[in-house]
Amino acid sequence: MPDNLPRKPGDRVFRPRRIKRFHLKRVLGVPALFSIGYGDVGSSIYYALGVVALVALGATPIALGVAGVIYIFNALTYAEGSAMIPEGGGSASYARHAFNNLIGFISGWVLMLSYIATMAISAYTIPPYLSYFWPVLNNASISTVVAMGIIGFLMMINVLGVKESTRLNIFFIFVDVVTQVTIVVLGIVLILRVNPSVLVQNMFGEGNWPSTQNLVMGIALAALCFTGVESVSQHGQETRHPEKRMPQAYVLMIVVVLILFAGISIVALSAMTPQMLGDPVNGWARDPVAGIAANLPSQMLQDIFKPLVAILAASILLTATNAGLLGISRLTYNLSTNHQLPAALGRVHPRFRTPYMAIIIFCAIAIFMLAPGFTNPDFFADLGALYVFGSLLCFAFAHAAIISLRIKKSDMTRPFKLRWNINFKGKDLPVTAILGLLSNIGIWIVVMVTQPFSRWAGLGWMAGGLVIYFVYFLYRRFRKEHSNDWEIKLDKK
C-alpha cells in the first residue's frame, strides 16, 4: 500500500501476539529483597544520624524510636499492598488502584522528589567518609564537586546499561550489617557499660535537650533513616511468590533495622556529645558513623574501624545513590507508559535499551540540587527535609490507598492481610494503616509549617508536576479528537 494514500480502517493488518503475554522470569527471594531494602535503609544511618542530631540533639534516640514506630506502620502497609498488588510502582500503583490516575500520578511524582533527594544526599555524604583517606575532601567545594561527579558517573553507566554486580552488593550489605552490629556491641561494652551516666548526660543534660519544635522536626527528619519500603515494593514483579516473600522481607527489615538503629544511636550519644554529632563543619554530622569509630576507646579499634567504616560507608552510599537513580528511572517509565507523563520521558535508547531521557534529566536535577553545597554545608539538612516532604506524603498515600481498598474492594484477594482491624460499616480497616496515615500526615504538616525550604521547593515540585500532567492530558485529548486514525486497543490480558 503506497504511503501517500490515506489509510482506511480496513487497511490495518491485525496480527495477534504470539502469546498473550510474555513471561516474566521472577527470580528474587527473601534474601535478595532484604538486601535491596537494607541497601537503601542501611545506607541512611550513615547520614541521617547526623541530620537528626543537628536538630534533635540529645533526643536523637527518642526521635529515631518514634520514627521507627511509624516505620513499622509503613512497612506493614506496604507488606499488604505488595502482596495484593505485586507490580512495580509501589504507592503510585496502590493509589492508582484505590483512587484514580491523577492520585496515582501525584503519589508517584512526590516519590520521584524523594528519590532525587536521596540521590543527592547519599552522593553528598560519600566524600566526608572518604576524607579519611583524602583529607582534602573535607573542603565543602571539593566535596560538592566530587558528589556531583559521582552522580554524573552513575548517570553515564546507567545510560550505557552497565550491569551492577548483585553478589558484590549482597557482600557489602552483609559486611555492613556485621560491622554495625560489632560497633554497637563494642560501644555498649566499652563505653556505655563503663560509664552509663555519659549517655544520660548527653541526652538530658543542660543544653542537650531540644525545644518541642525541634524535637518534632527531629522525628520528621528521622524518617530519613527508615527508607527501603518503596525500593522493595518496586521489585514486586520480579519476586517469586510475592504474596509470601514480600511480607517476609518487610518483617525481617523491621526487626533488623530497628535493633541496629536503636543500638547505633545510643552508642553514638555515648561516644560523643550531641553538639559534636550534629555539627556539620567541625563535628560528625556528615559522617556520624565515622565519628563513632573515631571515638572508640582504644587506638587499635580506631585503627581497624575508621578505614573499614570509610570503605563500607562509601560503597553502601554509592549503592544507595544508584538505587535512587534506578528507582526514579523505573518510576518515570511506569508513569509515562500509563500516560501520566509525556512518552518522551520514558523513551528507551535504541542501542543501550535504557530510559536515557529520564536518567539524564533527573540526574541533572540532582546535581543542581547539590549546588548550595559550595557555600552552605548545612544545606544537607534542607535536602533531608525535602526528602521527608516527599516520602511522608508518599507513605500517606499508601496508607490511604490500603484503607480505601479495604472499603471499595473488600473482596480483593489479600495474601497478607493486616491484623488489628476496626470494623467500620461492615468493613475491616487496619489500625496500623490508620495510625500510619495520621502520623505521616501530621509530621508532614509540621515539616510544611516549620521548614520554608522544603515547603516551597516541595510545593513548587508538586505544582510543576500537576502542570505537566494536565498539559499532557489536554494534549492527548486534543490529539485524539483531531486524529483520523482509529486504533484497536489490544487487551493485555
Binding site: F22, L24, K25, N158, Q237, R330, Y333, F352, I359
Partner: protein
C-alpha cells in the same frame, strides 16, 4: 531419551541448524521442542517494560524458527521471555518445564584473541538441571 528439549535462540547463524537438530532429536523420541527467545531488560527499566524493537526482533526470530520446524515436520512451541539476565532465565525455564535436554547453538567468537563462550553458555552449563548439548556450525559451512 529426549522427550522435551529446550532451545534458546538469539537470532544468530547457529539457530537454523540448532532447530533442525532439535526437531530431529525430538522426532526420534516422539518428543516436543520448546524454543525461547529471552529479552534481557536492564535494571533501569521495570521488568515488564515493553521494548517494541526487542519484542519485534524476538517475534521475527521465532517466526523463522516456526518455519524451519515446519520444514522438518517437528512439533515446536515458541515463547518470548523477559528477564534481567538470560542465563538464569534459561535455567529457570528448563526447571519449570522439566525438560530433558537444553540444546544451544553457539558461534565461534573470540575475546582478546581467545575463544569465548560468553556469559550465558557457561552459566547454563554450570547450573542446568539436565544435559546440555552445544552445537556449533563448522567455520567451513559458514
Amino acid at each position: 531419551m529426549f522427550k522435551q528439549i529446550l532451545v534458546p535462540v538469539a537470532g544468530t547463524h547457529a539457530d537454523e541448524e540448532t532447530i533442525r537438530l532439535a526437531c530431529q532429536l525430538a522426532k526420534r523420541d516422539k518428543g516436543k521442542v520448546w524454543v525461547v527467545s529471552v529479552v534481557a531488560i536492564k535494571r533501569a527499566l521495570p521488568l515488564d517494560a515493553e521494548i517494541q524493537s526487542e519484542i519485534k526482533k524476538a517475534e521475527e526470530i521465532l517466526d523463522k524458527v516456526e518455519n524451519i520446524a515446519e520444514e522438518e515436520g517437528g512439533e515446536v512451541e515458541t515463547d518470548v521471555l523477559q528477564a534481567r539476565e538470560v542465563g538464569p532465565a534459561i535455567v529457570d525455564e528448563a526447571v519449570e518445564r522439566g525438560v530433558s535436554l537444553i540444546l544451544m547453538g553457539i558461534s565461534y567468537k573470540q575475546r582478546f584473541g581467545q575463544f569465548s563462550l560468553g556469559n550465558v553458555v557457561p552459566y547454563v552449563l554450570k547450573n542446568s538441571p539436565c544435559p546440555v548439548i552445544l552445537y556449533q556450525q563448522s567455520s567451513v559451512a559458514k
